[in-house]
């Protein structure tokens, strides 16, 4: 029995968020009258505090703790910082929306904090068990948040769908994990990698497990053919919650894909790359084509999200070519850059949908954006920037994200894949541009002035401008992603 007390220092941010979630819960229970604003303030303070702690404890080394179940590395730290940012922005945009619908109960902010904690655990997991725990923490909180509007039958239905399919996906993932464990005798990613490297594991069983793991991951990422829940949940959930689902969890999903596939099953890269290739092509094609037919902007953004995740997978699948790992770093950092820029764009896009909604009115349809230019030229311009960027028009951040991913794909020699991706994004440009056309060239139906709290206006403008400015100067963020991966891999 030689047990050493684990080093808590690398996990300081996780511990801080967990404690603050409990503090929030108790404080809002005892101070009911100011509970709502208190919960909001505490949640934002927690996210800011966690960001400071993460920056403070960040060093370029890879540190393992808690019996090697927890890994602290630069990739994880960077993703955690971005997750705090995305959640904080999501709370800020959504607060007025929730207050108008009497949904800004303290539990919402509490669940958002616990969801953040779940994502942090996912990002820092070095063990199947912690990865799964983090995933469940995040998913459970999200299911509850989707159903938060108890009066709405549509939200409840969306939550039910999300819950049942999410549970199924978790089951698939667990089954795959148990197979991998059976084959390698290890749940720790480095242990798995070593067992496969020394050919101690049976290949058939490994591949059997890999298939299930890929299916589970694909469900959580929401890629074709495991995408059925995405449009319904995006549409059915209250817009503030849709924003939460669409943004930060994508970063966490990127992180667990990296941890599982690259850190754990890198020796099987040839196999999972071909699976990813199918998922990516199907998502890009179906996402872009189905988005054209949508009239509901939340559904449209859901399909566009499917296509974007497909693009991100393109980066992940071009790491290893014929056993040559030269391109791996470039490919993975392009995927990470894509995930980051997608989150930035999606925050702004759903932020705009929230901005146009008000008490008793949901700006859900593309029609609701008609004539936005006459109602508010500034925010019409912001939306235009975001749509252009999502379509991949130069020189916005979305262009560089697509460009770097395609560069990786071409370097890996998959020319046809790059051609399909480009063709499909040209088709996809249609529905993004339609929103711009509706905003600028159609007469407004609804001429109510836009009123939103000052903090939302400022943040949304900053968000839109960031999409434009980072498009002009993408080098910094790109090299940050590359640097984080060099230090972690």
């Amino acid at each position: 029995m030689n047990f050493v007390v684990p080093d808590f220092y690398p996990a300081a941010a996780e511990i801080f968020v967990a404690i603050m979630a409990l503090v929030t819960m108790l404080a809002t229970t005892f101070l009911k009258r100011i509970g709502r604003s208190l919960a909001y303030v505490l949640a934002q303070a927690t996210l800011i505090g966690a960001a400071f702690i993460t920056i403070y404890t960040m060093d370029g080394h890879v540190t393992l703790t808690f019996s090697n179940m927890f890994i602290a590395d630069l990739m994880g730290d960077l993703l955690k910082l971005l997750i705090y940012f995305a959640v904080a922005i999501g709370l800020l945009y959504g607060r007025a929306y929730l207050a108008d619908r009497n949904m800004d109960r303290p539990e919402y902010f509490l669940l958002a904090l616990l969801m953040t904690l779940g994502m942090m655990v996912m990002v820092t997991s070095n063990h199947m068990l912690t990865l799964y725990m983090g995933l469940e923490m995040m998913s459970l909180s999200l299911y509850a948040m989707v159903a938060f509007d108890r009066e709405s039958a549509r939200s409840t239905e969306a939550a039910m769908k999300y819950f049942v399919l999410g549970a199924l996906a978790s089951g698939l993932l667990l089954y795959g994990m148990s197979m991998i464990y059976g084959a390698t005798g290890s749940l720790e990613f480095s242990g798995i990698a070593q067992a496969i490297y020394h050919q101690a594991a049976n290949k058939t069983v490994l591949l059997f497990g890999l298939v299930f793991i890929m299916a589970g991951l694909a469900f959580k990422l929401g890629v074709v053919p495991f995408h059925m829940w995405v449009p319904d949940v995006y549409q059915g959930a209250p817009t503030a919650v849709t924003l939460m689902i669409a943004a930060a969890p994508k970063l966490a999903a990127f992180a667990i894909s990296m941890r599982l596939l690259v850190f754990g099953l890198f020796e099987l890269a040839e196999q999972w790359q071909s699976m990813l290739m199918f998922l990516a092509v199907a998502s890009i094609v179906l996402g872009n084509l189905a988005a054209i037919a949508q009239t509901n902007i939340k559904r449209m953004l859901a399909y566009s999200g499917i296509a974007h995740i497909g693009f991100m997978l393109l980066g992940l699948l071009s790491g290893v070519v014929d056993g040559d790992r030269h391109f791996a770093l470039n490919a993975y950092s392009s995927a990470m850059f894509y995930a980051v820029s997608y989150v930035l764009m999606t925050l702004a896009a759903f932020g705009m949908v929230i901005l146009l909604s008000r008490a008793g009115f949901e700006a859900e349809n593309i029609e609701d954006f008609r004539g936005l230019n006459q109602r508010s030229p500034w925010f019409a311009a912001m939306m235009m920037i975001v749509m252009f960027s999502m379509a991949g028009i130069p020189f916005f951040i979305g262009f560089f994200a697509k460009f770097s991913v395609l560069q990786a794909v071409v370097a890996a020699g998959y020319i046809w894949l790059a051609i399909v991706a480009v063709l499909m994004s040209v088709i996809g440009a249609f529905y993004y541009l339609r929103v711009v056309k509706v905003m600028y060239f159609d007469e407004p139906i609804d001429s109510a002035p836009i009123h939103a709290p000052a903090d939302v206006r400022v943040m949304l403008s900053a968000n839109g401008l960031a999409v434009a400015v980072l498009g002009l100067l993408p080098q910094g963020l790109m090299s940050l992603c590359a640097y984080a991966l060099i230090a972690s891999l």
Binding site: M25, K32, F70, L111, H127, T130, M137, A144, N202
Partner: protein
């Protein structure tokens, strides 16, 4: 046949029978009770595998708590047995297909080379005085303390979610919020009025 093997087959037979009755029993309460029997037999099999702690936990937690709660729910709900049976034949093909697939997969996995009995040798029996409970406890609170704590947070999330999704304040109740009650000041209740003295 060794006595242990005989006991295993007894437990296994009871479990298979109980599991079959769970899905064939007409009365849902009977089905739940058969599930209890199945759990009990599973506990017996775990006991044979020298997993005493898990066996007892299974009986205590699943039989003692979960299933009792389940029975309560079944008895509270007014389930119409006939309506439940509607659509049995239309679901049968899909259900049968999935069942056959599962059986085939199980046979492939268990009968295949990789998970057959010779690929999984029997672990050496533990020495006398070896405490299963103690070993599980030691592992849970040392090596696995991080996922253990995370699991507690997952349970907390489940509680918060369940409460926030189902708790409704009933309207028209006359009870007073203790917080408001406690924060009452004298000025809220008593008003001192200055009046000039009057003669009768």
């Amino acid at each position: 046949m060794e006595f242990k093997t005989f006991v295993f087959y007894v437990f296994a037979a009871i479990m298979v029978f109980a599991a079959l009755r769970v899905i064939t029993a007409r009365n849902p309460v009977h089905a739940a009770l058969f599930l209890v029997l199945a759990f009990f037999s599973a506990g017996g099999i775990w006991m044979l595998l020298e997993a005493e702690f898990l066996a007892i936990t299974l009986v205590l937690v699943y039989v003692g708590a979960v299933m009792v709660l389940f029975l309560f729910v079944i008895m509270m709900l007014d389930i119409n047995v006939d309506r439940m049976r509607q659509g049995f034949w239309s679901y049968l093909p899909v259900g049968a297909l999935i069942a056959i697939l599962l059986v085939v997969e199980m046979v492939l996995v268990l009968g295949g080379r990789y998970f057959a009995l010779d690929a999984m040798p029997e672990p050496p029996p533990a020495q006398a005085g070896y405490s299963n409970t103690r070993e599980i406890g030691r592992l849970l609170y040392t090596d696995y303390v991080y996922p253990f704590e995370l699991a507690s947070l997952v349970l907390l999330i489940a509680m918060v979610a369940a409460v926030t999704l189902t708790l409704r304040k009933r309207k028209g109740l006359k009870s007073i919020d203790p917080e408001i009650q406690l924060s009452v000041k004298r000025e809220d209740r008593v008003r001192l009025v200055n009046m000039p003295a009057e003669k009768e």
